[in-house]
């Protein structure tokens, strides 16, 4: 069992490497593998070298890290809210983060004591935490469907708020903002990549440590409590991690839908629900989807790079419908 799963995991990592390299080679200028290798490892600072180091590498890394963050946070959310439709995107955590970020981008509003450089991610985080805590409260008082409905309400509310900000925004910021709300990894920079990378590493370790408790949470709160698990604390920790990951992903890559919803389902299918496998699997599946989407975004319209969020949304909608229909089917039995 363990060996099969380790094999699947290794296979996914290889696949990810393939997408990563393709992501580097595609773009306005198609580069061969050897050309990339010489540009990365060689020391000749020519134009290709610059393009790789300044644009393509950070872009490809940001795609993978964003996917990792969304996949992991979606996996944790589906567990703690006990709902297969939960994800930062579907339940409004991403939308809330986007609103927070827009506040900084358009109005220049930021929290006291936060430098304006960190204002976008900081604002995104504050709103993401707020919405996550609201979801937590609602999930405690109402079962299943109630959380999803509340989450959808959050999505619409914050989208309307972002639209309102766009309406009052100046011409220049508007273009920036529209591009960003579509979700894109083309404006990646190394500081962003490093910041998100560190966040992924730390939350990844923390959630892996919480994995046994999260597995027990799947058995229901009463049973988990019978084993000495403080379900509230486990949930709260998970929500904090989700908020960190979702807000950073939104702050750096914009709102990217469906990755956080789809990845957990893939992982559950491949690895089952032992969270020591399911959580890494979800993160990896998310990274894989994003990397693939990034490659697709560069190859759909000749000479243009689509915002990657459009690709994930278009690919994700059929999947979303399939999940909903399958849930109906389960209940009809």
């Amino acid at each position: 069992m363990t060996r099969i799963r380790a094999g699947i995991l290794a296979g996914l990592i290889c696949l990810l490497a393939v997408f990563f390299v393709s992501d580097l080679s595609f773009g306005p200028l198609h580069l061969s593998f050897s050309r990339i290798a010489t540009a990365v490892f060689g020391s000749v600072p020519d134009q290709v070298h610059m393009a790789i180091w300044q644009i393509r590498l950070p872009g490809a890394c940001l795609a993978i890290l964003t996917g990792f963050a969304l996949g992991l946070s979606g996996s944790e959310m589906q567990t703690i809210l006990n709902n297969p439709l939960a994800s930062p995107f579907t339940l409004g955590v991403s939308a809330a983060a986007a609103f927070g970020a827009s506040l900084a981008l358009i109005l220049g509003w930021h929290l006291p004591g936060i430098s304006s450089a960190a204002a976008v991610p900081a604002n995104a985080f504050v709103f993401a935490v707020g919405s996550a805590l609201l979801l937590n409260v609602v999930s405690r008082s109402r079962e299943g469907e109630g959380v999803v409905l509340f989450g959808i309400a959050l999505v619409f509310t914050f989208q309307a708020c972002v639209a309102l900000l766009q309406f009052v925004a100046s011409e220049d910021t508007l273009q920036d903002l529209v591009f960003w709300t579509m979700g894109s990894v083309t404006r990646a920079t190394w500081p962003r990549v490093i910041c998100l990378g560190l966040a992924c590493l730390i939350t990844g370790i923390l959630s892996f440590r919480a994995a046994p408790a999260l597995t027990m949470l799947r058995l229901g709160d009463d049973r988990a409590a019978g084993l000495g698990i403080d379900a509230r604390r486990v949930r709260f920790g998970a929500l904090l991690r989700v908020s960190v990951l979702a807000s950073l992903a939104v702050a750096f890559s914009g709102t990217i839908g469906f990755v956080g919803l789809v990845a957990p389902h893939i992982s559950r299918h491949l690895f089952g629900e032992d969270h020591r496998w399911y959580l890494p699997g979800g993160a990896l599946a998310g990274a894989l989807i994003m990397s693939a989407a990034s490659v697709t975004a560069k190859n759909t319209v000749p000479g243009q790079v689509l915002p990657v969020g459009i690709v994930t949304a278009l690919a994700g909608v059929p999947f979303f419908i399939a999940v909903v229909l399958r849930r109906r089917g389960d209940r009809g039995e």
Binding site: T215, R218, D222, R223, A225, G228, D230, R268
Partner: protein
């Protein structure tokens, strides 16, 4: 009427588990009304019996620490109600009435995760599976087990720790006859061996009569009687609680049919 009455059980500082007073309200309805019982002695299996809706599960959840404001429970004079969830989990193992959800999670890996959470060695999992006759299910997902098999797995989950108090809410309801007897045997053996206080909710009166050391009867959220099974499970209590005409013999309870129940007592 039952023998050992409430009066001698309230004093604290006794050996065993003393419960009460416990009061639980759900909206306007009083689900448990100043319930007191015990002391339930270490090494003894106590049966908790009563009609549907009489408050058995609620009482068990309270002892498990899931209803923090409901009342007191003392183990050897130590008040359990002030303990944190984690500390309470060390004292009490609790098997809820609801069946295990059908997950894509191997029986073995589920128990291993539980062992990790509980801080007990992973070797205990194999041992437990062996004792419950579940060796062949270790690799099967919980979602692919029958109802009775899942109930056995849920019992294994409750036994993963070596608790002082074992709370089992209808662990036999989905089991075949052989497994019912086997589980009762295992529970009795573990209880004696470890000196646990075990409370088991049952609906089978013969089982309670022959395999428990102590019985608590609940009716409408109040303790109807408590004591040695033979003294408490009687013709009168059967007709008063369940509205059946029955004979209680040394071999077990033989139910002859329904008796008339006073109007309005049918439910709850």
């Amino acid at each position: 009427m039952p023998t050992r009455m409430l009066t001698d059980s309230v004093a604290s500082g006794q050996e065993g588990l003393t419960i009460g007073p416990v009061t639980v309200r759900r909206g306007r309805k009083v689900v448990l009304d100043e319930v007191r019982c015990g002391p339930l002695r270490p090494g003894e299996v106590a049966g908790l019996l009563g009609p549907n809706g009489s408050g058995k599960s609620t009482l068990l959840r309270m002892v498990a620490g899931l209803l923090p404001a409901a009342g007191r429970a003392e183990l050897d004079g130590l008040d359990l109600s002030g303990l944190s969830a984690a500390r309470r989990g060390v004292f009490c193992a609790y098997m809820p009435q609801a069946p295990l959800p059908q997950l894509m999670l191997g029986v073995g890996e589920m128990l291993e995760a539980a062992a990790r959470v509980a801080g007990v060695p992973a070797a205990r999992v194999a041992d437990l599976l062996g004792r419950l006759g579940l060796e062949n299910f270790a690799r099967r997902p919980v979602g692919a087990l029958s109802g009775g098999q899942r109930q056995l797995v849920a019992l294994a989950l409750a036994l993963i720790r070596e608790p002082r108090i074992l709370l089992l809410d209808e662990p036999l309801s989905a089991l075949d006859l052989r497994h019912q007897l086997r589980v009762m045997e295992i529970v009795a053996r573990e209880t004696r061996m470890r000196g646990m206080v075990t409370i088991i909710v049952l609906h089978d009166l013969t089982m309670a009569l022959r395999h428990t050391d102590h019985v608590v009867l609940l009716k409408g959220g109040r303790v109807f009687g408590e004591g040695v099974p033979e003294d408490v499970i009687t013709r009168d209590s059967l007709s008063a609680l369940w509205g059946v005409c029955a004979r209680v013999t040394t071999d077990g309870v033989i139910v002859d049919g329904l008796a008339d129940m006073p109007a309005g007592e049918e439910s709850d």
